[in-house]
């Protein structure tokens, strides 16, 4: 548990166990949105009477879980690339001397 200044009562998030709960909760929500979402998409596809609406967009958009996987991989790649970028461009705070 993190210390709080001046005898302030600790908040819910100050307990690391609760942070763990938030992290697990995020996993659960993501899995629900992935699998539940795929179910919903399939249902919407069946209901769509308009053939154009059913086959709208690019082919890759209809791969199962495309958006979830894309978001996850894109962000991991972004962060790892940015970390590498730091080696190249990071300088001290007063680099420009003003």
């Amino acid at each position: 548990m993190q210390e709080t200044p001046g005898g302030e009562p600790p908040r819910w998030l100050d307990d690391f166990e609760n942070v763990r709960k938030v992290y697990r909760g995020l996993w659960i929500v993501c899995l629900v949105v992935l699998f539940g979402g795929q179910g919903l998409l399939a249902w919407a596809q069946r209901r769509a009477t308009d053939a154009h609406a059913a086959h709208h967009g690019f082919g890759f958009e209809h791969w199962p879980g495309f958006y979830a996987l894309f978001g996850f991989i894109a962000c991991v790649a972004l962060v790892l690339a940015a970390k590498e970028l730091r080696k190249l461009i990071m300088r001290s705070e007063d680099y420009y001397g003003d």
Binding site: T4, L41, V79, R86, Y96
Partner: protein, 567 residues
């Protein structure tokens, strides 16, 4: 003269003149009244089709042209000006208050300009008036940043004027309208001029350089006008220009890498502002009626949530004195309302369903999709995930959560909270009732339906799994920590690179000069010495003899001649 005769924007410009004469509550009321009066004038007194022409020399200048595109921009500019004025209410600094009203007024004037000359005048006015919001921080750093900002902004105006002069010479038309693409020198110059203000890649550095150096309230004003005026000018003059698609795509993608590692949270927002402009530029580049609508709609929504985000970070800076991720954390305990409003802004910029970003950005993505631009679509999708990552999560997380920085401050002042509250309500209102905004779009009818099952589901999948990526990286401590640093961007070229090259050239020239001078001096000294040797006081050619010896020698020579003559 009735109030409807005053050109839009001039209520703000004239209103600014009175500010230094007022004080206290009266001044505060005036700062709120001026943008509200301007908005009321635009909504109730100026119908579409209103025009105002002034003749100067042999040119007819269309000072005012009102159509749906201009009206949409004018409306959101007034709303943003009102919110920024409300947010700055505790401020008592004539320099900032006057320049803010002049700046907003000239941006609004520019939106209603019907010809290139009028646009140019307002274009430069926005540059000159806005720099005071940067300088008003009154630090060495902000002074230098402001000078760079001013040079770039005025430079954009000079390019615009050069392009306009050529354009008018070639075509004889002054009308500020579609130029039909980048085809000749005139259009290239105008394109570059607009591109500078729109923060095209490599022309963008003034934005992340200057905006974070402005005052707490100044950045809120700045974030609205200059760049969106440029987007408006692009929508007017280069709709459907193919070049805009790759430029816009690059704009959405590259700033997010900088945003991830940037420590100053207002600079993170400046980079994400650049990224959001990219979406609008792509929309204009696609050039269909729907995609222009998408760009306009996104500009409207963007101004609100970006103001909101800058307001929330401004409030943090105002209370804690810093805006650096490395120093902040745990502020949700002492600034819960600011935190909540920031999260609404963060959700909106990330385009969560039920927020304004969702109903606006989707139009552009849907158009990229229906035009079959697969690569563009994928990069925009990457940028959507990325913007959620750095603006949607990083900003609130490092300011309000993360590790407790033990900073305990008061909640933001009431006027700031109300301004943030209204902006947040508008973000959600537009997200819930998109039809209200769609009705204002320039190309009617707008039939876009944002809330379909596939759209909501796929967007939630994209965003939540991006959040999961952040969660996982953070959990395993892979996520890069916030570090006090300067990250080099293209501005290194003119802030360090060019000065270094110029410095090296200067030193080389100096060395050469010294060498030439030394050699020359040596030769001159040598010559003088030689002359001195022969002609100096002891020189052989300067030797003197008494007159008597000359008489003697003459006598000797005479005698010798006489002797020789007789022999």
């Amino acid at each position: 003269m009735g109030i409807e005769q005053i050109p839009p924007g001039w209520i703000m410009i004239l209103g600014a003149a009175l500010v230094p004469l007022l004080a206290g509550r009266l001044k505060q009321a005036w700062m709120l009244f001026v943008p509200a009066a301007g908005l009321a004038q635009l909504v109730f007194l100026i119908p579409d089709g209103t025009g105002m022409v002034a003749s100067i020399f042999e040119y007819d200048l269309t000072i005012v042209r009102v159509d749906p595109l201009a009206r949409l921009w004018g409306t959101i500019f007034y709303i943003a000006a009102f919110l920024a004025a409300l947010y700055s209410l505790q401020l008592d600094d004539d320099v900032q208050q006057v320049s803010a009203l002049l700046y907003a007024g000239s941006a609004i004037g520019a939106v209603f300009a019907g010809d290139w000359i009028t646009l140019f005048v307002y274009w430069e006015l926005t540059a000159i008036t806005s720099v005071f919001l940067v300088w008003a921080s009154r630090t060495e750093r902000s002074y230098h940043s402001g000078v760079r900002y001013l040079i770039v902004q005025v430079g954009s105006g000079v390019l615009l004027l050069a392009g306009v002069v050529l354009h008018v010479h070639d075509t004889g038309s002054l009308e500020f309208s579609d130029l039909g693409g980048v085809t000749d020198l005139a259009t290239v110059l105008i394109f570059l001029a607009i591109g500078i203000k729109a923060a095209f890649p490599f022309l963008h550095n003034w934005l992340p350089d200057a905006y974070p150096e402005a005052t707490v309230t100044g950045t809120v004003w700045l974030s609205t006008f200059t760049t969106k005026l440029a987007i408006y000018a692009l929508a007017r003059s280069f709709p459907g220009e193919d070049l805009l698609i790759p430029i816009g795509v690059a704009m959405t993608a590259f700033p997010i890498f900088f945003a991830v590692i940037e420590n100053d949270l207002r600079r993170v927002l400046a980079y994400s502002l650049n990224n959001q402009l990219g979406f609008m530029v792509v929309g204009i580049g696609i050039g269909t009626a729907a995609s222009i609508n998408g760009a306009a709609c996104h500009a409207f929504a963007h101004i609100l949530y970006k103001s909101l985000l800058f307001m929330s970070m401004g409030a943090v800076l105002f209370r804690t004195g810093t805006c650096k991720g490395s120093e902040l954390g745990g502020l949700y305990k002492s600034m819960p309302w600011t935190c909540a409003f920031c999260i609404v802004g963060a959700a909106s910029i990330s385009a969560f369903p039920l927020t304004s970003g969702f109903v606006s950005k989707s139009i552009i993505l849907a158009e990229a999709s229906s035009e079959g631009l697969a690569l563009t679509f994928l990069v925009l999708l990457f940028a959507s995930a990325g913007v959620f990552h750095h603006s949607g999560i990083k900003i609130p997380y490092f300011a309000f959560f993360a590790h407790d920085s033990k900073i305990r401050v008061k909640e933001a002042p009431l006027n700031m909270l109300i301004a943030m509250g209204i902006a947040a309500a508008l973000c959600i209102g537009i997200g819930v009732f998109p039809g209200l905004l769609y009705a204002l779009l320039p190309n009617q009818p707008e039939h876009f339906v944002p809330y379909t099952v596939p759209h909501v589901v796929t967007q939630l999948q994209l965003l939540l799994w991006s959040a999961l990526a952040f969660g996982v990286l953070n959990w395993y401590r892979i996520y890069p920590p916030e570090l006090r640093s300067t990250n080099l961007d293209f501005d290194w070229v003119y802030r360090a690179g060019a000065p270094a090259v110029v410095g090296a050239c200067g030193r080389a020239i100096q060395a050469l000069q010294t060498a030439v001078l030394t050699a020359t001096r040596a030769r001159i000294v040598g010559t003088i010495e030689r002359v001195h040797r022969y002609h100096g006081p002891h020189g052989v050619l300067a030797r003197t003899s008494p007159t008597g010896s000359m008489a003697l020698w003459v006598a000797v020579l005479l005698s010798a001649i006489l002797v020789l003559y007789f022999v």
